[in-house]
Amino acid sequence: MSVAPFNPSKVAHSPVEGEKSKSEAKQRIRILVVQLARLGDTLQSLMALRAAKQLYPQLEIHLVVRGRFSDAAKNCPWIHGVHVLPTDEWIPSILHAMKEKNASLEQVDFRSVIGPAAAWLAPLVDEPWHLVFNWTYSDSSSWLAALMPALARYGYIRRKDLSAGAADGWSHYIQAIVQQQSPQNIHLTDILTTQLLTALQLHVGDPEQEATSRESLSHQFFNVPRSTLEGIREEGREWRDPSRKWIAFQLGAGHAAKSWDESSWAELAVRILARHGECNLVLLGNGEADRRAAAHVLEQLRENGLEDRCVLSLVDQTDFQLWAAIIGRSQWVFSGDTSVIHLASVLGTRIINLSIGPVRHTETGPYGNGHFVLQPDITCAVCAGVEGAAVHRCREAITPDIVYATWSYGSSEWAHRRETSFEEHLRQIGSPGIDEKVRIFRSRIRLSDEGGGVTYEPVQTTKKLLFAEWSAAVTGHMARAWYCGWTPRVAVETSAGAMNPELVRDLRKVSESVEVLIKIAEEGRRTSQHIQREAARNRTRKVMRVEERARLQELALKLSEIDRLLERLVRAQPCFSPFLALQRVMMHNLSGDDIADLGRQSALVWDQIVSGARVWREWLDATTTLIRPRAVQPRKIETPSPDLNV
């Protein structure tokens, strides 16, 4: 492959290596982001990158994306380079060869494609990057990221021995906790943003003061001409009428399990248009299922005498620019878990997110203030992974009635200022108790002293706090303590009113085990430090005495036994599985050259487990304080003083 060798001197005079004076900081900083996943992930990446660009205007951002999901990035004027992975050129020939020769992947000869791949890669490796971020967190992307010369790389990579690895803490967190689907409550956009800003702070320096006060405006995000909407039939004139409210329904969700059924969409459309004369509706989507759903909505509107109302069906008719223009002009978007919620988040359009199927809205839900998420509050066998289960019952919990009620509550906030409870609102619209099978959340951007990022606050006052929600908050708190270097207040979002007997029972079960966890981790740390000390005595680092070797073996066996103890504890208390997963990922990523160094790093791993377990203990203490009975001071009854003026 003919690419220029990596030359660190090319970047040695850059602000990354040199002193970080103001003038130097204004030099360009080249970063490359590998994002080979879907459009939703690309949009979340763009949100993180925009935040960084705001703080570091000197950033030169390049993105590697797949062709079919490149439109969003191509429409961002602040992205310097969009490098499209030409999979359509490479992969069909390989698949054809596999089919023709009836060969498995292992038998395929990739040499014919390596040449074109190297040619595509050449401009990307011509000059070293300051920073490379692999935000795909997949197998293929780890190989690609490993090819990129950079001063520092984040995310999955391949090491010299071709094994997979990741050197940074947030990537360990994603691998061990997010991808293992353990409960945690930090949004993916916040993880990416924090990882990126921390990297910039460490390798580039603090942002300039003037940059921190600049406001980010959603209209600066995409380069979508104002005239885009004028192309939509004669109804286009309606878009300019400020008295009209546009509501967008994104009918499909990319996966059947996450999609709402067509009769529910139709019922909701009838409900909104019949009661709100100021509203217009636009139907969006792609493909056969969405076409069918749109036809059903239109048919139901006709049957209910609402055919004269302004309803646009644009299924299969939107390119990215038109899609973004419509979402940007709409007041509300109703959608399942699909990329439109990220697009609407970017464009400042409020969202009603129907969180159906295997979705974790705390990680990928709508971002910003004032969005609503409806999550089924019933056990769905398919979502729970029960063998043989085929029908998602969870979608039945989200009825058109409760979606309408949530929207009407959200859209009238300006009037009731959220002083009216959701339950009271249900009574006012004549639908009390229809929220029994659903949990409803409202998104809010936390202040930085509360931990920052997006959080989803319960809208209903009657729902109990679940142990999974509680442990997700604890895990999020641990991550901030580990990787942000500061700790928000404990249990700040847990109130005494949310306590319930089930939660108390679960917390009591865990409270003893957390002490065991701390003891195991402390023993792991001590043993690792012992290994480090023993190994450091050997000055040659190449030859050791038999008795030295025996001592080290004994300590290594002890460390293995501690590993097994942790496994046993997690079997008994599955809520501690994030600790085991993280310990294994981190141990996999030890990078020491000798036993002493490995011992030192191993001790740091155990130290992280100890600090995380202590966060659990603090949360348990703080939460159980809320439920502890308190002595109530007897009210002093004041006896009226005798009236002397008789």
């Binding site: 060798p5 990596f6 030359n7 660190p8 996943a37 879907r38 459009l39 999901f69 999979t87 490479w90 698949l95 596999m98 992947l105 395929v108 494609v113 390596i114 791949a117 490796v125 967190y137 997949s138 197998d139 293929s140 780890s142 190989w143 520092a152 984040y154 999955y156 990579i157 010299k160 071709l162 094994s163 997979a164 050197a167 360990h172 691998q175 997010v178 991808q179 293992q180 993916l188 921390t198 990297a199 460490l202 994104q250 499909g252 989507g285 792609n286 299922a289 390119d319 990329s339 439109v340 295997p358 990680e363 303590a481 580990w482 990787y483 294994r584 990922v585 996999h588 740091l604 992280q608």
Partner: protein, 98 residues
């Protein structure tokens, strides 16, 4: 990691670890990349072809996993695997959500 800060620095490289200095290594990385890409594509095609899977849109959805759903499967040499026993754990990780 909070305790010593090294985990915030990412993988800091220098000329000695640059992938481009070793042509054979570059070729191995490229081959690994293409192989993994095809494997992901095959999985994706199977998922799209499976009954109940919704039709994918051109601009608005679809394709391979993401940061919160991908696992990573390690195609490594036996030697590397022996050096890193925890690979088995990562191999056992989920390849993606339903």
């Amino acid at each position: 990691m909070a305790t010593d800060g090294t985990l915030l620095q990412g993988e800091v490289t220098d000329s000695a670890t640059s992938p481009l200095l070793d042509g054979a290594h570059v070729e191995r990385l490229l081959a690994g990349f293409l192989k993994a890409l095809v494997a992901e594509q095959v999985t994706d095609l199977r998922r799209e072809a499976s009954p109940g899977s919704a039709e994918k849109s051109k601009t608005q959805e679809a394709s391979t996993g993401s940061a919160h759903s991908n696992g990573i499967s390690n195609a490594t040499s036996e030697e590397a695997e022996a050096l890193r026993p925890s690979l088995r754990f990562i191999r056992g990780g989920k390849e993606g959500r339903a």
